[in-house]
């Protein structure tokens, strides 16, 4: 570990001072995920069928679209934090930088696709 000098910090040794923020956001999203994921599992289980019209009718309602948007934000932020720890534990050289950049791109890209899909269904409404 670093000895706390300026040079040590420049070399990436010692605390980055962001540890407690990561810890808090991990727990915050964990708590939100409990409610949001249980909502999703129960809602999907209680649907009468899983054909296209039933699914679109369900997801185009504000009562489903809004929790689903919140779920995407909370769950995706949570898994981004979790996979960051995985990368930090197992990758130690340049691959750590590549892995971290790839993880950020993966999270933002998949979240964008998911959010766009939900909004498109919600705003287009139920097909006639």
């Amino acid at each position: 570990m670093g000895n706390g000098t300026e040079l040590g910090r420049v070399r990436g040794l010692g605390s980055s001072k962001h540890g407690s923020s990561h810890w808090f956001q991990q727990r915050l999203t964990a708590g939100a995920n409990i409610g949001l994921m249980l909502w999703l599992v129960v809602s999907v289980a209680r649907l009468p069928a899983y054909d296209y019209v039933t699914m679109v009718t369900w997801l185009s309602s504000a009562w489903a679209a809004i929790p689903m948007i919140l779920l995407i934000v909370s769950v995706f932020w949570h898994f981004k934090l979790g996979l960051t720890v995985l990368i930090e534990d197992y990758l130690h050289d340049e691959t750590r930088v590549i892995g971290t950049v790839a993880l950020n791109f993966f999270t933002v890209a998949t979240a964008a696709i998911a959010l766009f899909a939900i909004l498109r269904i919600a705003f287009a409404g139920v097909p006639a």
Binding site: A30, I34, M37, V41, Y50, L86, A114, A117
Partner: protein, 118 residues
Amino acid sequence: MTVSILHRATGDGMATVGTLLLVWWLAALSGGPAAYASFQSWFTTQPGDLNIVGYVVGIGMTLSFFQHLMSGIRHLVLDTGAGYELKRNRIFATLTMVVSLTLTILFWAYMIGGKTHG
């Protein structure tokens, strides 16, 4: 030890495979009836029941979710400083697996048996 490894394995599994499945499902649904039918054809038989892939993915994802949920709740309890006595710690660790397996069985019993009768 085992439960800690399971927490990471289920979490990272859902973060990668689960994320792609969720995004694929939402994108297919927003793409229209043809796109959704193509998505469904991977996991269902022609009459609309789950095929082997559907069951493996569905049971795998629900078991991962319930295990991660239970070991996650265990971590939140441990965060408060409680539950570190050896015996109690071991009981809670075992309970996460018993409860997650039970919830998975109950979930699929409802999906397969409960709905058709109710």
